[in-house]
Amino acid sequence: MKVVALPEYCLGCGLCEIYCAAEHDGWNGNVLKAFKKGKPVNRSKLMGSPQWSWLNTCMHCNDAPCVNGCISGAMQRDSDGTVFVDAERCVGCFSCVMLCPYGHVRPCYEKHQVVKCDLCREKNSIPACVANCPNGALQLMSEEVNPL
């Protein structure tokens, strides 16, 4: 599974980033609390220019270069095929950042780690970005991706 961005519907409003951030690091989707009490970190990032925008999310590639190239074993694939990073093991070497063809895996300098989309795997329902996109610009799809 992966979230696919449809730039033709994207308004660039950024709600995806906000709900993504609030879904992680134990904030449980509580936007008010997350942004009042902490500095929540979004996994997927809105990209674009004044002319267009799209959410840069993880393709959860089949032969994922980030999983293959992880020097610590932190970057893994779960039994559903979702690629996620085990924060306990990530040492922040950024090898995965250097290897991600989509530029999706990002450094998080405060934590000395990387962050990426995990399809909100701990939430057990559709990813927060998809659920909260007001214009249907994000869709959950099952099509497989092989990088290039």
């Binding site: 961005a5 730039p7 033709e8 519907y9 994207c10 308004l11 660039g12 990032k45 990209m47 674009g48 220019s49 004044p50 002319q51 267009w52 925008s53 799209w54 840069n56 270069p65 293959n68 190239g69 020097i71 610590s72 074993g73 040492v91 922040g92 070497c93 950024f94 090898s95 950042v97 250097m98 290897l99 991600c100 063809p101 989509y102 530029g103 999706h104 895996v105 990002r106 450094p107 991706v145 990088p147 290039l148």
Partner: protein
């Protein structure tokens, strides 16, 4: 089917994953000569810097081995008998195989000079090396590191973090000579000097004296409480050569990671890999490459025919809180270079017409994923695309030809903002 793997680190774990992606049946036996389980070599510097935080640097867990039905034998393989298809261990035990993988890695280069045996002279390659340094070092000591490649730099950083006085000696004209350009190396040199780490380039080690004096060709003489030899690594090909497998600088394999014996495969630092940019076989000694080769070899041992396209040099490393990413090779001395610099960030691109052949990025990891892939997949991008990118490098300014090539993502928006 009996799958046997010599070596138990990165390529070996890739092979277990490859074999089990295809065959649930068949036994997998790993011969672990180092007897430390599947750990990750790059993390030995993390261990040395913070031994209490990085006590466990395993690459795959015991549960992983159990779940994949892997039997581990803690012994060195001493000989391969290709006729009887057996590995003979140092303890005399024999291990029969149907398919064998040699994933024996490399070993550090030790110069042929007197004094290298002294207990205060060390290499930095194994967890045991890091543990013995941990036991030996004391704050305030003088450490001299010979070689400023990645291993030397990570050793230097760890010893500096432990409070030693650190000197780095390089034979070439600047540090990290295989990765950096003179300009980019100067940025890192300034950073190291600022932290009190002393660098000396154009110096070649000639003698190690028993009174802890180290001599160099120029006449320079330094005192060292600890001396680290980080002069590079070479593949451990003895086992393969001795049983008649084809060996050049590393074990020679075909595109399917097969040696000249159809039942024996090899992967990781022990082989020569194809550099896709030059088309030449080279020793690449990189963890992502070792894992990928191990994985493909495993699939092929289990009966598939997956070709390895080769790889490119690529590295991401943090030194003194600065990120250094680099990928590719200088395939043409006349490459055009484009440089961008702002505050502590630096990006240098090496172009061959419409192709990117190498980049060096300091404190700018976020743009490097697409750049690495542009090089590895040789994506054609018109030079003016690079000119626009280098004016303000970011993910959003990556030339759109790249995004089109990798499929789909941003098309022009029909909405007017």
């Amino acid at each position: 089917m009996r799958y046997v793997v010599i070596g138990s680190c990165i390529a070996a774990m890739g092979a277990v994953e490859g074999i089990r992606s295809i065959a649930q049946k068949g036994s997998i036996t790993i011969i672990d000569g180092e007897q430390r389980g599947p750990y990750t070599r790059p993390l030995i510097s993390y261990f040395l810097a913070r031994p209490y935080k990085f006590k466990d640097i395993s690459y795959r867990s015991p549960e992983f081995l159990a779940a994949n039905g892997v039997e581990v034998i803690k012994a060195m393989a001493g000989h391969i008998n290709r006729i009887s298809q057996q590995v003979v261990l140092d303890n005399g035990q024999t291990v029969p195989y149907d398919r064998l993988l040699i994933a024996a890695g490399g070993s550090p280069v030790i110069p042929a000079i007197e004094g290298v045996e002294a207990p205060w002279v060390k290499t930095f390659y194994t967890l045991a090396d890091a543990e013995s340094l941990h036991a030996l070092l004391a704050e305030g000591q003088n450490a001299v590191i010979i070689g400023s490649g990645l291993i030397g730099m990570k050793a230097a950083e760890a010893l500096w973090q432990r409070g030693l006085k650190v000197n780095i000696i390089e034979k070439e004209a600047h540090i990290l000579p295989r990765i950096m350009s003179p300009d980019s190396a100067a940025i890192i040199s300034t950073l190291l000097n600022g932290a009190g780490i002393k660098l000396r380039c154009n110096e070649e080690l000639t003698a190690i004296r028993s009174d802890h004096q180290i001599e160099f060709a120029s006449g320079l003489c330094l005192h060292a409480d600890l001396l680290i030899l980080a002069l590079g690594t070479r593949p451990r090909t003895e086992l393969a050569a001795e049983c008649g497998l084809k060996v050049n600088k590393g074990i020679v394999v075909d595109n399917y990671l097969r040696t000249n014996d159809e039942n024996i495969f090899a992967a990781g630092d022990v082989i020569e890999s194809k550099n896709v940019l030059t088309g030449e076989n080279e020793i690449m000694a990189l963890l992502p490459q070792a894992h990928k080769e191990g994985y493909l070899a495993g699939c092929n041992m289990a009966g598939h025919n997956l070709a390895d396209a080769g790889g490119i040099f690529q590295n991401s490393v943090n030194i003194m809180d600065s990120s250094i990413c680099s990928a590719g090779s200088l395939i043409n001395a006349k490459s055009e270079t484009l440089i961008w610099q702002q505050d502590d960030k630096y990006l240098e691109l090496f172009l061959n017409g419409s192709y990117l052949s190498k980049y060096i990025a300091i404190n700018l990891p976020e743009v490097t994923g697409p750049l690495t892939n542009t090089i590895e997949k040789q994506v054609m991008i018109a030079p003016d695309g690079w000119q626009e990118f280098i004016a303000a490098p970011s993910l959003s300014t990556i030339p759109s030809a790249y995004w089109h090539k990798i499929g789909g993502i941003p098309r022009a928006n029909t909405w007017n903002h």
